[in-house]
């Protein structure tokens, strides 16, 4: 894939006063960016702005070369995976993935084959008719990844998707996510609070503090930096 800007936040501002947030950054296509920062710093606000769940007060959001600032979430070319409740609990697994291909669920045979392929891809072949409640937490997240895989959107937004899975399972899921990203060729923004996860998966870091981007840097060597007091506070007192 040709290297071009997949994401650009041009002077994006949201909210007022204490809770205000302002973001300005850009990312090349195919990169994986980990978004880190203390809770309440505005990590989810950034993701929600990119997804279109929040509308900025000023500034522009460019995704894949298009100004999407005024577009509805579904028109932005993104897939999203949350920490929880990614699946409609009363719909079976196939339907949950199928809705990702067509929101009215008007799918032809080829599309349903695509759904089954996606399930196969995440190692859940044959799970299509089961209900979300009969799956483990990790399996449900894999279904969410399968849906993102089937949708093949250029941008993948992850909101602490592997939180609460336990370290081993989370690492497996992270690997799966990276494979899927590579196959789809998507650009990833991933909110996490786990520095290890960021180190393992991302090539760039956005460190958010008090609604601002405190650091925008390559992942390599980021956690060893000593010039960021907010980062020190976030990581806790490391070796002095």
């Amino acid at each position: 894939m040709r290297q071009h800007r997949a994401i650009a936040f041009d002077g994006v501002a949201y909210g007022m006063g204490e809770l205000s947030a302002a973001f300005d950054f850009r990312r090349q296509s195919g990169t994986v960016t980990a978004i880190l920062g203390p809770s309440g710093a505005g990590k989810s606000t950034l993701l929600n702005l990119a997804a279109g769940f929040l509308t900025p007060a000023s500034g522009r959001i460019i995704l894949d070369g298009r100004d999407v600032t005024g577009l509805a979430p579904s028109e932005r070319g993104i897939s999203m995976v949350f920490q929880d409740n990614n699946l409609f609990a009363h719909l079976d697994i196939r339907t949950n993935i199928g809705l990702g291909l067509d929101p009215a669920l008007k799918l032809d045979r080829a599309a349903w084959t695509q759904v089954d392929k996606a399930l196969e891809r995440v190692g859940l072949a044959g799970f299509g008719k089961r209900m979300p409640a009969t799956l483990s937490g990790g399996e449900r997240q894999r279904v969410a990844l399968a849906r993102a895989f089937a949708r093949r959107r250029p941008l993948l937004l992850l909101d602490e998707p592997f939180d609460g899975l336990g370290p081993g399972l989370a690492a497996d899921m992270l690997g799966l996510m990276l494979e899927i990203r590579a196959e789809v060729g998507a650009t990833v923004l991933m909110v996490t609070h786990d520095p290890d996860e960021a180190r393992a998966a991302s090539d760039q870091i956005l460190f958010i503090a008090k609604g601002r981007i405190a650091a925008d840097a390559p992942a390599d060597g980021f956690f060893e930096r000593r010039d960021l007091p907010d980062l020190q506070a976030y990581l806790g007192s490391g070796p002095v």
């Binding site: 929600n48 279109g52 979430p73 719909l91 929101p103 669920l105």
Partner: protein, 540 residues
């Protein structure tokens, strides 16, 4: 935690309460049955009975259908718009009809929808030839929708608000349209509560008395309950009343069994001010359908209440307040209300404690029976509607003419039984709470028996007692069902007085009286709710 002696006392008290309730129900039913034996059914009467039964079921079915047909889209619109100005107040407004005396509401509805009301003037301007009639079937349906549409909305809305916020984000992300979202997410979420709301609404409409009495009542628009009343009060035809009562009891029994079969009873969930954000919902022009729906819903529910206030204020209130009859009626109503509330709270307290004593998993059949019956005692009174109960006692007392104390006691009893399920619902969690928190400590200190009741359990439950009591007073104060059979020159309550003013076309007096009655019951309901929430915060 109770000591052995306390268990014995609790169970004895519960048994006594159950027997009292059983007698109160069994005596009138036995009277009805023995009267029924001595009267045969003629074919002529058969036609009449079938017609009344059919009308009762038909109007209840239509009322339920209409209420739900409007409640589902309205609940959906409210869930889609979680933060417009006044949303909290609108939802509070929707709780009002539940506590409003039906007679007061009927008056408001007549003001708005009557021949000279605002609605018909509007319809006339729009070119409607025949005015909407507030009397007969259309009026009954309108009144039932007025009462039950807001109730259904309050039952259905929490089902949508309970859904996780990620659902709406996912829906927005995937681009699900309104229709697809309704079919695949919103309707599946609403279905259960809509079904139980429908069951509850049907039950309420099938046993509705006051509204049908005021707005229907003609031979073409009479329900079983009103027919029982007419048979006893106007025709003095006990045989017919008995048959009607038996049909009514079997009908409510069948409906209740069907409801039980359908699943959990409807329970109002959390409907607080704001719901979850809805990124899937667009603003701009898309706002219009929701705004229109919510606006019309608010107007439909709010206008009759506003009409009660407006017409009440323009009545000669000062003359009304200097009328000796008004004060006599108020005194009688209050005495009945206080007695009924005291009785209801006492019965409920005995039942609640007995149920606790028998335990969640009773170890023996008698204990299981005690627990089950104590729980069911509330709904037993739904099975035998007030008018039917009253009919039995009415026959036993030989019409109650010339008597004073006996009819009053019957009215108190019926009102107490009516309030019982609500009072129990208030007392049960408070009792559970205090025993869980103080039980072990009290037993370990040896503060048991009478001392524990007076020192610990009763003081701890005082707010709950107060809530239940005030609520029961309000309920009794607005009730026309029990007094309708026994009302006379000697026994006059506020609703009875209001009913008579309405019947003799003293419209201005009726409007003033309705405002006073509505204001008193609303004030009591608000007090009960305030006590209830304070109760909750103290418990924490």
């Amino acid at each position: 935690m109770l000591t052995r002696g306390e268990h014995r006392a609790s169970r004895a008290a519960g048994l006594a309460a159950l027997m009292a309730i059983g007698l109160a129900l069994a005596v009138p039913i036995a009277v009805l049955l023995t009267h029924g034996e001595s009267t045969g059914v003629t074919s002529n009467q058969g036609d009449y009975l079938i017609r009344i039964t059919r009308f009762t079921l038909m109007q209840a079915g239509l009322s339920t259908l209409l209420s739900l047909v409007f409640a589902v889209p309205l609940a959906r619109a409210l869930a889609r718009r979680p933060d417009f100005a006044g949303r909290r107040w609108l939802i509070k407004l929707f709780a009002v009809p539940l506590g409003l005396p039906p007679l007061v509401a009927a008056l408001g509805l007549i003001e708005v929808w009557g021949r000279n009301g605002v609605a018909n003037k509007g319809l006339g301007l729009m070119g409607a030839e025949t005015p909407f009639s507030i009397y007969g079937l259309s009026g009954i349906l309108l009144a039932h929708v007025f009462f039950n549409l807001p109730l259904a909305v309050r039952l259905i809305l929490p089902a949508l608000e309970r859904l996780p916020p990620e659902y709406w984000k996912t829906a927005a992300n995937l681009g699900m349209s309104g229709l697809s979202l309704f079919r695949r997410v919103e309707w599946p979420a609403m279905r259960r509560s809509a079904a139980s709301a429908a069951g509850l609404v049907f039950m309420l409409c099938a046993t509705s008395f006051t509204l049908v009495l005021v707005l229907g009542g003609g031979p073409a628009a009479t329900t079983l309950e009103v027919a029982i009343y007419q048979a006893l009060r106007f025709d003095f035809d006990p045989g017919r009343a008995v048959l009607l009562s038996l049909i009514q009891i079997s009908m409510t029994l069948i409906v209740m069994l069907v409801l039980k079969f359908l699943g959990t009873p409807a329970e109002e969930g959390e409907t607080k001010g704001g719901g979850t954000n809805r990124p899937d919902v667009q603003g701009g022009l898309h706002l219009l359908p929701d705004a229109v729906l919510i606006g019309l819903g608010g107007l439909f529910v709010g206008a009759p209440m506003a009409a009660v206030v407006v017409s009440g204020l323009s009545a000669d209130l000062s003359r009304l307040l200097t009328d000796a009859l008004f004060w006599r009626a108020a005194g009688t109503s209050l005495s009945i209300g206080i007695s009924a509330a005291a009785l209801s709270v006492l019965l409920a307290a005995c039942l609640v404690r007995a149920r606790y004593s028998a335990g969640h998993r009773p170890r023996s059949v008698p204990l299981g029976l005690l627990a089950g019956l104590s729980g069911a005692a509330g709904s037993l009174t739904l099975l035998v509607p007030p008018v039917v109960l009253g009919a039995g006692w009415f026959l036993l007392l030989g019409g109650g003419a010339g008597q004073l104390l006996a009819p009053l006691m019957v009215i108190v009893l019926i009102n107490a039984l009516m309030a019982l399920p609500f009072v129990m619902r208030v007392l049960e969690p408070a009792h559970q709470n205090t025993l869980e928190r103080n039980g072990r400590l009290a037993v370990s200190l040896g503060v048991v028996g009478r001392h524990r009741l007076s020192q610990i359990d009763i003081p701890a439950m005082l707010p709950a007692f107060a809530t239940g009591f005030v609520f029961a007073v309000a309920l009794s104060l607005g009730d026309l069902g029990a007094i309708a059979l026994f009302g006379s020159d000697r026994i006059v309550t506020l609703p009875w007085l209001l009913y008579q003013k309405l019947g003799s076309y003293r419209t201005a007096d009726a409007a003033g009286l309705a405002l006073l009655l509505g204001a008193i019951t609303m004030a009591l309901m608000i007090v009960a709710e305030k006590l209830g929430t304070r109760n909750g915060s103290v418990d924490r």
